[in-house]
Symmetry: C2
Subunit: 235 residues, 2 copies
């Protein structure tokens, strides 16, 4: 067994969380990756998470089932149409229909359970306050409040043991900054998948907010996106 | 549709949450009951939640699947033995093996998603700081921290709308007090199920911590427990 301290890393299979995983490894953590099957329209991102976890040789990769469809309320879990071809200034302002109610709270709660069982004290999440300013649960003040709550929620907190730290290493980076950081750390973005609405062949659409932000990020970083897009994006 | 304000009530099928449901109804809320299937050893408590929800004629009863077994770490989800026949002073001190890591955090996170989708502003949970002092996530300070976090997590909080309130109406009552309160409100405790380890016929064991606390509660309240116990408890 590894003597490194353990950290739980929330791994969606997208670009941000793949970068965060590389940052956690670089920081010397033994990584416990956690991915959710939550009624996504497509399973392509879970496959991507598996590829990223294998490439990074994580200690453990758990795929937990959760049932966000039970409540509805989002284009990512319901039959609401995913918006396409929005302009940059339309993305990130108002809360988009792709917002999943309380998603990061549910994800972090599971990460907290995993951390407690594994005696890990660090939880990494790839939230980004810049590109996702419309998502309440991507803001620093939300993350801080979650950390306070987490440190009252666990056995370790009652027993006076080491605190839980929620780490958000890309929260202040833009997409290009995240990509540059990841490339420095050797992340293979060809393994990742960011699309909200991939085609039947699993190819990203190139037109949803997530694809548009990703493409813009690669453009600004001055490198080509290694993915092949359904609709001819990807530089 | 009801014009009453909506409230999400976490409903386990046990005595505490059945009482809390009655309190929410009495307070004038239209109740959205939420029960979890989380890899319990027995499904008897989900059946009990269904009976309680039907008897109370709730607006909606959602049973959400969650996968706490993915992480392990508790006698309620793993193959660890549930302790039996413990003395009153052994129950509630140290954190018991029946503690499920981060369970209330995961439950409340889902309740928050449900509340957000349904535009409910109140979440009721039957935590009890007295009988479950060993559970970190049953303490008032934990609940307060969750509420602060919840009010940064949601769309409504960003848009400056009404706050989420986490209501814990039985947190300071002992079991006898909860039972008296519930009987005043007409709760039929014969529909509920508190046991951690019911027999194959679904009958409560009468010997686990939950059964022992329940039996003691009925004794102190001076009424008979309407349930039939496997091992001859139940007054």
């Amino acid at each position: 067994m590894s003597k490194k301290p353990k950290a739980v890393v929330l791994l969606s299979g997208g670009l941000d969380s793949a970068t965060v995983l590389a940052i956690a490894l670089e920081a010397g953590f033994a990584v416990l990756a956690l991915t959710f099957r939550y009624g996504q329209r497509h399973q392509a991102e879970i496959a991507a998470a598996g590829r990223v976890a294998r490439a990074a040789a994580v200690e453990k990769h758990v795929i937990a089932e959760i049932d966000l469809r039970a409540f509805g309320g989002s284009a990512l879990t319901d039959d609401i149409e995913v918006p396409k071809d929005r302009k940059a200034d339309e993305i990130g302002g108002a809360i988009p229909v792709t917002y999943v109610p309380a998603r990061n709270t549910i994800f972090l709660s599971h990460a907290l359970a995993f951390a407690e069982v594994e005696a890990a004290h660090d939880i990494f999440i790839g939230v980004n306050a810049l590109d996702y300013s419309g998502y309440p649960d991507c803001r620093g003040e939300y993350i801080d409040a979650f950390e306070v709550m987490a440190n009252l929620a666990t056995k370790a907190s009652v027993e006076g043991k080491r605190k839980i730290t929620i780490r958000v290493p890309v929260i202040k980076l833009n997409k290009a900054g995240i990509i540059r950081k990841g490339l420095d750390l050797g992340v293979d973005y060809g393994l990742t998948m960011s699309c909200y609405d991939p085609g039947p062949d699993g190819a990203p659409c190139g037109r949803c907010d997530a694809c548009l932000l990703r493409l813009k990020g690669f453009e600004e970083a001055g490198v080509a996106d290694p993915l092949c897009y359904s609709s001819g994006g990807g530089g």
